[in-house]
Amino acid sequence: MADVPAHAIQRRRLLDAMLTGLGAVALTAVVGAVLLMVGGHDPWMAATAMIRGSFGSGRTFVSITLVRSIPLILTGLAVAFAFRAGVWNIGAEGQLYAGAVAAVWMGLAGSGLPAWLLLPLVVLSALVAGAAWALVPTLMRLKLGVGEVITTILMNFVGIYVAGYMVHGPLQEARGVFPQTDPIAEAARLPMLLPGTRLHWGFGIAVLLVFALTVILRYSRFGFQLRAVGASPEAAAVSGRIDTGRVLLVSFLGSGAIAGLAGGVEVSGLTHALYEDLSPGWGYTAIAVALLAGLNPVGVVITGILFGALQAGAGAMQRDAGIPAAWVGVVEALVILAVLAIDKVRKMGAIVREDAG
């Protein structure tokens, strides 16, 4: 039992992941309601305000919930991709900031270029910057054997401070009043996906990426190698056919690139400028998003929208019901713990069935 890699149990088929997810959501609702009552709030009021603020109307759903879900889906994909390979990339937050800084820099420096050239450059620079931000932890793991959990977390802090430095220093707006950049060129902005709403092409990019990752993971030679390394790096190395180091390098940098893309898409599609506190911790929430989806790319879209709804609803909850939005963190933690508990119960069920048979 002890030598089964931890992440092997969390990787599930889509249907299986959805059933676990539904169970986890139900469990979270029950425990969350009890905690809210202990905190002196009315859980029914909280729930109705939350649902109104996220699914209340088609417009709310598209312009608020779906828009909020875009960075969560993208960082969720980044985390899922790394975890599938057995790479504990907790650094999506820093990689996201690196991507956002690079995209804004390109969007400012490239003003004057036509959109067909500038927009791909913006996206590309976000991808490259995210991968570059993951490079130091990658090399430290592969060359020096320093675990990536700590190094990626340390890089998160550096990334946040670098973004802070940029908006106070070299990239600060020309007026020099607020710690933010000037708006990027029109040609550097992602077009709207649905006219008349705030839903931008970032959502389309996320969906395309889901297809790409699904195909890569399931049907490509590299995807097979990645899954093998994730299941057991020792076995993959012993097989002699898999260059474990190369697989880890590509999946780690790829994960960083996707997280960087999340930052680039956010500034190019929505904010059109960089400022401090761009991310409310998406890179960490992404771990819950990926885990709840069973590290399945298609599932990440569903859980990403769920967490997007949660964050959209939290604002409404604070506004309409006077319940602190900080409760969202508690709910996110409950979701993760519920998934872990359900996994455990199912595993014990399997052992009991084995013994009986």
Partner: protein, 308 residues
Amino acid sequence: MTYADLVLFLEAAVRLGIPLALAALGETVSERSGVINIGLEGSIIGGALGGALGALTFESAGMGVGVGAAAGVGAALVFAAFAVALGADQIITGTAVTIGGLGMTGAIYQARFGATGTELSLPTLASVRIPLLADIPLVGSALFDQAITAYLAYLVAPAIWYFLFRTPYGLELRAVGEAPDAAQAAGIRVLAIRFLATLFGGFLAGVAGAHLALAHAGTFAENMSAGRGFIAIAVVVLGRWDPVLVLFAALFFGAASALQFFLQALGLDLAYQIFLALPYLLTLAALAGWVGRARAPAALALPWEAQR
């Protein structure tokens, strides 16, 4: 750059290093038993809010430290229930405890003091000046004119070292972290030891949080732990899982953080974000250059179930 500047720098280094030292020393014990607690941040922020509420309720900073320690144990209890008792993945459980701890403390704080965050003024932990020792030139006041929690860190470091390397219980704890199956075969109760070691880590992290609120800031603010739980885990690696080295590693990180005052006193005109990022960069460099060869406990981060 004067003598007085240097003294100020050292004082800041110790002041910033102490909460890290406390949290990292507790984490050293739990990691030696094979448990990496990424949820340490949750224990620290819980300790900070517990410390603030306790100090307000009982009008005593000392009681605040007690309540803060209890809150730290509470957060570690959630972590241990899942990561040790249920054998769930430690990294994922720890992430949940961190996210939940930050959310829960924020919610409680806002419910109690309002969303605007009225400035709290708390009974603070007074500095206790140790006669003679505090008069040592240069380092005396930095090391020996500090809050009582600082002296706890000085005492706990050698005590943990003695416990780990000179007592049979310490040997059992290390055996659990290196080879849990063999430890079980030798009659050692693996999960009980991991559970207690994790709670001890939560206890010291809670004290660290209370120190932040009561000795450092004199107030509570949301997210005031500011990633110290993660840094403490890096400090454990820097200190090579040796409690005495871990204490020095924490002070090293404190010094790196205090460099901002030092360099500003030198008249160096750099953006303050560079100074803020410096400790993280130095820690990365130290991990790369010096600790690469250090070996973690063999069973670290591996969930374990009793063998049948």
